[in-house]
């Protein structure tokens, strides 16, 4: 088990800057998730850590020891590939055994390790099958087994759940979190699914265009997004962004709505974007202080809730309403904004306007 550090690491492939001046600190024993859209440089980061790529600049170190171009085999890591990378003509048992065999672990020990791992992953009955006889989920578990069968410094997982169907994916999330707790090992997990990140991680690093956008706990990232990118990337429903101007402590929209500026707002005036998550708004009939007027554009009843898209000026604003709300299309509605949970972004830089002292209170 060990901590992993990236210090100003950069890596380019031709003209593409895959990783750009990235520094990270992964605590020993953390479940650390690298989150970002595809092409963001997450996988490259993982491969840099694994030693499968060499950084152009910067360094990777384990427990403070720079890896300095050490071969992948010397780094004592286990990795689960997105495509599982199971050896094609070997049984599940042989696949799981391969790291042990390479380390010349005696047959009895190896056998008991394999059985342990197999029962942990519920694949005892699959050990004598070859990969092509296994379903995606089963292959994925064999690949996990191959990683878990020994005790490496850290487990690197590259979107291991992407190829699974939704049901299995959700199941495996829970399994992995449980595994992490049981093992107490460092997990470095790459995904483009924010829900996975939110549900599993101790720490999340959001990456875009090879650059680190924000690091923090899932709650941090959700409640205090550092910038517009993080704000819109995180969350089951995309955060609504509406242009506005700040004047005298009041945010004004183009259609004339007014919302009191949050305490984080700077003094003075300027152009901003108001960010409100759908769950932080509600439909209302009142002409309150912090309400926006609009017309109903679309309604998506989802059983436990109802998503309503409301046309406010040129913007569509999505709101999460009570399941029984069923506004008529094109009818005029008002949206009440939870002023304590609004986010304000600089219109041009996209950075969150934030003052730590007056940060919104989270429970």
């Amino acid at each position: 088990m060990s901590a992993i550090d990236l210090d100003a690491v950069s890596k380019a492939f031709g003209d593409t800057q895959a990783v750009d001046d990235l520094s990270l600190h992964v605590e020993d024993g953390a479940f650390f998730v690298l989150l970002g859209p595809s092409g963001a440089g997450k996988t490259t980061t993982l491969r840099l850590i694994a030693g499968l790529e060499t950084p152009d600049e910067g360094s990777v170190s384990f427990d403070g020891q720079p890896a300095q171009g050490a071969a992948p085999s010397a780094r004592d890591l286990a990795m689960v590939f997105q495509s599982y990378a199971l050896y094609p003509k070997q049984t599940a048992r042989e696949n799981i055994a391969s790291p042990l065999r390479a380390r010349r672990i005696d047959a009895d020990t190896a056998d008991s390790r394999i059985r342990e791992v197999a029962s942990l992953l519920h694949i005892d009955h699959l050990l004598d099958r070859q990969p092509q006889q296994l379903s995606g989920g089963e292959q994925q578990r064999v690949a996990l087994g191959r990683a878990l069968v020994r005790e490496p410094r850290a487990f690197l997982m590259d979107e291991p759940l992407t190829n699974l169907d939704v049901k299995l994916r959700v199941e495996m999330r829970a399994e992995l979190t449980r595994l992490h707790r049981t093992l107490g090992a460092t997990f470095l997990y790459v995904t483009n699914d924010q829900a996975e990140a939110m549900s599993m991680a101790d720490q999340v690093a959001v990456i875009d265009h090879g650059r680190l956008q924000q690091v923090g706990t899932p709650a941090d990232i959700y409640d205090r997004p550092a910038n517009r990118f993080v704000a819109t990337f995180i969350g089951a429903q995309r955060m609504n962004l509406v242009d506005c101007t700040l004047e005298d402590g009041v945010l004004r929209g183009e259609t004339g709505w007014q919302v009191p500026a949050p305490p984080t707002a700077p003094a003075g005036s300027g152009r901003f974007q108001l960010g409100v998550r759908p769950e932080d708004m509600s439909l209302t009939a009142e002409h309150g202080d912090a309400t926006l007027a609009g017309t109903v554009y679309a309604v998506e009843p989802l059983g436990d809730r109802c998503l309503v898209d409301v046309q406010v000026g040129d913007d569509l604003v999505r709101v999460k309403a009570a399941p029984d709300a069923d506004p008529a299309l094109d009818s005029a509605v008002r949206l009440a904004v939870d002023v304590d949970r609004v986010h304000l972004f600089d219109h041009d830089s996209g950075l969150a306007v934030r003052d730590q002292e007056h940060a919104p209170v989270t429970t």
């Binding site: 499968l52 992948p72 085999s73 990795m79 590939f81 495509s83 990378a85 003509k89 790291p99 390479a102």
Partner: protein
Amino acid sequence: MAQTTSVATSAEPSDEGPDFEPPPVARRSGRLTDRWIARLSVAPAMLFLVGLFLFPLLWAVVLSFSTYSATRNQPIEWVWFGNYVDVLTSDQVWERAITTLIFVVAAVGLQTLVGFGIAWLLSRQQRGRGALTVLLLLPMMLSPVVVGAFWKLMLDSQFGVVNRFLEAVGVGQVLWLTQPRLALFSLVVVDSWQWTPFIMVIALAGLTAVPDYLFEAAEIDRASEWFKFRHITLPLVWPLLLIAIMFRAIDAFRLFDIVYVVTGGGPGSSTETLSYHLYKIAFQNSDTAVASAYGILMVIVVTIATQFYVKYLTRVQAK
């Protein structure tokens, strides 16, 4: 025709429920139906095939039952399977068969080993791989007769560059073409020189198709090079390699040109292959009928062997 049908359907559209008649396409010739147009389109190819392949083949089968000789003016007698019996019971034929078998196994074996080896090295070489591959493919593009002719010169015991080199390094003279075992070995070398690239290029295609992540996984697992080769490379390339081996084996089985040019079957008849023997019977002895039977037997042997091989191949690929 097309027109009348379309008129008919439009006249009574609603009465008979859904109408599955396809919408009218471009106007067609009134005289030729589609089926006949299709037949006429394949006719040239069929004529070609029948005239140049099927007919001569059947003709050879007919001849193989007779005593026909292409150059002799003698009455034809029908001996039915007599020629086949003669060929199959001839000691000479069996000797040639064994020579051919040794050649096929040795040549294809050597080509597979070396070809795969080179392909493996090439697959690990990123820079200049394309140019190197093209360069290595060159022998395959030469005529076998040309290849045979210059190898014959190179292997000449007196003046050949090979022996000159061997003498210079102190090995001494080697009688490449006049000692039975060595002469057969020389043929294996010449054939391999020309055809190793064939195996190589197919193996290379297989090797470059092996996903990198498998090797990376093995690397992280600290697997040995042998493990990577044995459990990743070989299983994935093997099916492709088997196809290459089959092509080469069939080709080597009917080896003629290099024997003809390099050793002429000698010394004695120690390097005489089935094809070369067949050639002598057909063109020197002019025993056309016997040669026809001989040739047909060879085709049968190859076909049967290929059938078994293909069965094995499909089994390997199905796995």
